[in-house]
Amino acid sequence: MKMKEKYPLMQIVDSSGNLVSGQYESQLSEEKIKNFFYHMTRLRTYDRRGKALQRQGRIGTYVPFEGQEAAQVGSALALDDNDWMFPTYRDHGAALAFGGDLDRLLLYWNGRVEGALPSQTKRILPAAVPIATQLPHATGAAMAEQYKGSNQAAIAYFGDGATSEGDFHEGINIASVFKAPVVFFNQNNGYAISVPIEKQMNSETIAQKAVAYGIPGIRVDGMDVFAVHLAVQEALERARRGEGPTLIEAVVCRFGPHTTADDPTKYRDQEKVEKMREEIDPIVRLERLMKNKNIWDENWVSQMQHEVEVEVNDAVERMENHEKPDPSVMFDYVFEDPTWSIQEQKEDLLERSRF
């Protein structure tokens, strides 16, 4: 267990909702607690609706993130408005918390490229589908900020399985050499689809992989929104100070399937997971914290829950009433000026659809 001691799990609020050490008291203003609670509740409402919509055949395959809300909210809210976010297909929660647009996210799950870009204003890239390919992009965006002499940073999201890909290694190595202002934020949910982390790597932790690049590696309880938030904040400050990248391992639990097309019972005991969640659910932890601090306000909570319900309902409605897809989008954005073959093919298709 040596490495797990060298990289202890940073925690601020434990699963029973108690502060682990007085030093963090300052992190827990009522306003901050409520803000985290609001965002995590909003994400879960959206996420559960996503699963439901898929079951009802109203959207395509959906990637749920239930259980990872603290990691995604805590990290996203640590970013500056003009920082860069490079999410994966599972990090639409983080995108939403950072300022992504609900309508677009839902459109994306409906197979609409119009929803690929989570925001028109925030610098959030479309979900990277090929595993780990977004890490070098974050490095490059960060190096460009360096080049411009700005104070902005980038964050790359990725999973435990992604650490096995060459792009994970190359993206971090390059960032470390140029001291690029980037945070490599890993959500270790213990599985790459069905493959458990023991079959993914021989290292006890993901944080220790930072040693290969001579950069700090931090292991944090990813079910503790405060711990995640602080760790990412500190890493962003390092980045802005010109001290280079940080690798953060947020240990989380994916409560549900890999995607709505996945059957987790084929590779793990879901009942165990369900039992576990009673203890570790990141939202319940906040509820316990608020109750322990006597700031749990039923009215505020139900009012807030109602509001996010309404917000999601409206977004779903807009998604479903969104103008029908126009096939010409596939031709119009391959190049600034379509090449002759693209032009001919477009005319050919539109002519056909006129039949």
């Binding site: 395509g60 395959t61 297909y89 409906n110 197979g111 609409r112 490229v113 690929a116 589908v129 090929p130 595993i131 399985g161 992604a162 096995s164 890909e165 060459g166 792009d167 790459a192 689809i193 069905s194 493959v195 079959k199 993914q200 790597m201 097309a261 996945d262 084929k266 590779y267 897809p325 096939p327 989008v329 596939m330 031709f331 391959v334 090449t339 073959s341 693209i342 093919q345 477009k346 298709l349 056909r352 659809s353 039949f355």
Partner: protein, 340 residues
């Protein structure tokens, strides 16, 4: 062992199962694992999970995790690992979860998988197979729907195979595993579960490099493979009603292409239509056009028509059906060819 127990063999000879394409592939893998100890499987989620499409369902259970190996998420790594295994006498079958995820392994394939035999003048060769589901039409996310065959048919040293039905799927897979050289085995996702076919329970193979006639006809030759074969067939059936008979050829192997069947058919009909879902520019269709130019110039009554995916990234699934060739598009091309 199945190979040595004649009773089982003979009985199997006459047994067939009504299988979908994915079941036939599972059966082919099982057959090879059972009959050749050098065969092992490598890939992501192929073990307890049985593969995201269940191609390897039950195989780890039956043959053990030393034969059916869940690898880390590392395409370049496990393709390179398979190269090392093949150098050392094994016959690995690697699963790439979706063809669009073969790109990270491109260097291993372009510089080693395809060149090891020529580099060592045959002292080493790589009897390995890379399996990958390909193609659009199943509502999968971005990058999951590529048809990248032409990125491998221009790479000397590897063969490219693509079945369109359950019988061929098992027979071509067995032939690919037994081939002494590397084979990229493309599986049309869209046909995995659509139809069933009687598939012999025994071990049989379908020869690589040979196309086959799906339909005979006199007026036009239609060349297709994988998921485009039913599209071509449908167009041929419709044209019949309009009084034209089309010859539909399933090429089955994309490198090396079956030059004889291409020439034979075009020299008979004088008209050729090629249907593939990959982008038109630089697709295998342009190579087939060139083969027709080389072999059948004087027989052509009209220009070869290519009905293909467009020169754009495969679109998100809401409009992927607009990207894919349809029987209507094929019919339009046939008419253009006939009315030329």
């Amino acid at each position: 062992m199945v190979m040595t127990d004649n009773r089982i063999r003979e009985q199997e000879m006459f047994t067939t199962n009504s299988y979908t394409v994915i079941q036939a592939i599972n059966d082919g893998l099982k057959t090879m694992l059972a009959t050749n100890k050098k065969v092992l499987l490598l890939g992501e989620d192929i073990g307890v999970n049985g593969g995201v499409f269940r191609a390897t369902e039950g195989l780890q259970n039956e043959f053990g995790d030393h034969r059916v190996i869940d690898t880390p998420l590392s395409e370049a790594g496990f393709v390179g690992t398979a190269v090392g295994m093949a150098l050392n006498g094994l016959s690995p079958i690697v699963e790439i979860q979706f063809l669009g995820f073969i790109y990270p392994a491109y260097e291993q394939i372009a510089t080693h998988v395809s060149r090891m035999r020529s580099r060592t003048l045959g002292k080493y060769h790589l009897p390995m197979v890379i399996r990958a589901p390909y193609g659009a039409g199943v509502g999968a996310p971005e990058i999951h729907s590529d048809s990248a065959e032409a990125l491998f048919t221009h790479m000397p040293g590897i063969k490219v195979v693509c079945p369109s039905n359950a019988y061929d799927a098992k027979g071509l897979l067995i032939a690919s595993v037994e081939d002494p050289d590397p084979v990229l085995f493309l599986e049309p996702m869209r046909l995995y579960r659509g139809t069933r076919q009687e598939v012999p329970a025994n071990k049989y193979s379908v020869e690589l490099g040979k196309g086959t006639y799906i339909k005979k006809g006199d007026d036009v030759s239609i060349f297709a493979w994988g998921a485009m074969v039913p599209v071509a067939e449908k167009a041929a059936i419709d044209m019949k009603k309009e009084g034209y008979t089309c010859e539909v050829i399933d090429l089955r192997t994309l490198y090396p292409l079956d030059k004889e069947i291409i020439a034979e058919s075009v020299q008979k009909t004088g008209r050729a239509i090629i249907v593939h879902e990959a982008h038109g520019t630089g697709g295998v269709g342009s190579e087939i056009t060139s083969i027709i130019n080389d072999t059948s110039f004087l027989y052509l009554k009209s220009p070869v028509e290519r009905v293909t995916g467009f020169d754009v990234p495969v679109p998100y699934f809401a409009i992927e059906h607009e990207y894919l060739p349809t029987p209507e598009r094929v019919k339009k091309a046939i008419k253009k060819s006939i009315e030329f």
